[in-house]
Symmetry: C2
Subunit: 366 residues, 2 copies
């Protein structure tokens, strides 16, 4: 504070009576500097309250330690706040790893790619985290082609619906599907939900899903069907597919519940579950004789907590942690750092198991 401006490497060097390079070494490769010198330098740093200027370092090393993330326009879905939580977790993990998260926006995929270019050309962003990737995404293609480190949150779903990582059709320079990603195992989630309902004695467990073709939706459906099949109940499988909204959920539920044997519903989302809940409640009011209907949602949104809805919770923090890990792996593997061997050989694709949060809507009849 006494000096007019902040101390620099030179200030520290003078103070410690060494060259400025030695100070730099103490900071970046402490092991190559003699302990007593190191001590002296560290003391000087301490005394002066020196903080390295990362901008200068960045100019020199061409590494920014900054990650870019496109802020998606708030989808109007009810599942708000999972992005909030993810963002918080990601920022936190990044910070812990010495990285920063920088936000940007883009109208569409092409604009986003243009932003990648700008961001890399002008501010030297090191890598990107992509959410909301979709089949045949031009963004992942571009990033692969330009050798930019990135990780997607969500698998690269083939147009078919099954997870990628399998078919390696030909010897293209870059197999787009085969990039680092982290995702939540939706199938395992619905499996848990369905099993939970079966364990509670339900036999005819219907599924309220999204229209066919969405990788995520089909994956969740698969988990339900699998479980039913394993239990020898696949013959009774009932599915209703609908758009993701409360109203549509209610309508779909009403259709399914015309079958009096259906006593439980596994829903692909909390929105649909919320609709189903309303439908079930009306049904219970109008027909006290009918068996009460158990319901599970997916995402464990605040709404689920609010209305006491059993739901599959996404471990967002884990996802963020693994995403940062995967990104770090790529960053460290770049030209300069020979630490490539240091990093534990890790899978480039990570599937995280969600867990079921059991609440009132799936517990024994009230």
């Amino acid at each position: 504070m006494a000096e007019g401006s902040r101390p620099t490497l030179v200030t520290v060097a003078e103070h410690a009576r060494v060259s400025r390079q030695t100070v730099s070494n103490v900071l970046n490769s402490p092991e190559i500097v003699r302990p007593e010198t190191r001590e002296r330098v560290l003391r000087a740093i301490e005394e002066l309250g020196y903080r390295p200027n990362v901008v200068a370092r960045q100019l020199r090393t061409r590494r920014s330690s900054v990650l870019g993330l496109r802020m998606p326009p708030a989808s109007d879905g009810i599942s708000g706040q999972v992005l909030d939580r993810f963002l918080h977790a990601l920022t936190d993990e990044a910070q812990r790893a010495g990285l920063r998260v920088m936000l940007f926006t883009a109208e569409d995929d092409d604009a986003e790619i243009r932003e990648y270019q700008t961001l890399r050309a002008t501010t030297g962003i090191d890598g990107f985290v992509l959410a909301n990737t979709h089949a045949g995404d031009p963004r992942t293609q571009w990033l692969c082609d330009h050798d930019v480190p990135f990780v997607t949150v969500g698998r690269p779903w083939d147009d078919g619906g099954a997870p990628g990582a399998s078919t390696s059709d030909d010897g293209l320079p870059h197999k787009v599907d085969d990039h680092p990603w982290v995702d939540i195992d939706g199938r395992a989630g619905t499996r848990a939900a369905t099993q939970h309902l079966l364990d509670a004695g339900h036999r005819r467990v219907a599924f309220l899903g999204w229209p066919e073709g969405s990788g995520v939706g089909d994956d969740r459906l698969a988990g339900w069907l699998e479980t039913l099949t394993d239990a020898g109940l696949a013959g009774d499988a009932v599915v209703q597919r609908t758009e993701d909204s409360v109203a549509m959920g209610a309508a779909a539920a009403n259709r399914v519940l015309r079958d009096d044997d259906v006593t439980a519903l596994v829903c692909v989302s909390d929105s649909i579950a919320l609709g189903a809940l309303a439908a079930a409640r009306e049904l219970a009011a109008s027909r006290p004789d009918r068996a009460p209907v158990a319901i599970t949602g997916f995402d464990d949104t605040p709404v689920a907590r609010a209305v006491d809805l059993t739901s599959v919770a996404q471990p967002v923090a884990d996802v963020a942690a693994r995403a940062i890990e995967l990104l770090r792996g790529q960053l460290d593997a770049r030209p300069d750092s020979p630490d490539a061997s240091t990093g534990v050989a890790q899978d480039r694709q990570v599937l995280i198991e969600p867990h079921l949060v059991v609440r009132a809507t799936s517990r024994a009849a009230r």
Copy 2:
């Protein structure tokens, strides 16, 4: 692409046959360079696909054009997603203004202040956007003391409850309350909601609020009370205060609705409104004779849309735009840029009026 690496100022200068300084001028002060030279330089820039390196510029100018924002830990409230929307809008506005938003996290206020220091010392962040400020916030104090540009989203509520900007108790070097902020006029919001209900013929309009002492909550209550007073109905004013949750909202509503004359509820939040809605529905079922109850919420969360709840919508995008504006004003007013006069003289404190979104829960009896 032909060349190995990216073009720099020198590359452009050579290409345009001018000094590198002239190129810099074309970029930063185009008006001082002769039109024909400028043309030539611009063409060279175009041809080479030159992009200025902001890191180098930053090292030289000490301005980063980056804004810091602490990512708050997801509050468990139902009102998720307003942060999402705000973040998107803020990023968008910032980008439009040539600024970037960088995220960070901190455990508490002190840790946040430490991050301010780190961020400014090492990466040279230009300013901050603070959300969730509270009475006697040490962060705003610190930022004022260190002359760091910032803007808060939300007024600096005095411990009393009234908005600051009024009492200037003594001649302290920095009047903490008197910093730039943007906020939503909650009072105007509940005023609109209450008036809407009065217009619909309701006479006894109760308020379900938060416990006393929260600036935001008291402000919202004030709007309701004001409107009732203006209508000469203050004598009938009924308030129930409760924690912000669906269950508490239902309980509070039940208490208020014991009074058969109460036909409308203005709620301080969507969570509470959601509870009230459930209570009202049960009441309607059990006592078909009673007049139906109209309900309004606050925040216009996805849940409100989902259950067709009338609610006060926060114009988040406007807030973001004004926040960026206020920050820009401070950034431009700094040492170098003499453009201080250019910026329209603007208020340093901005109150934005929300608007009511009328939905089923407040329309004439179904």
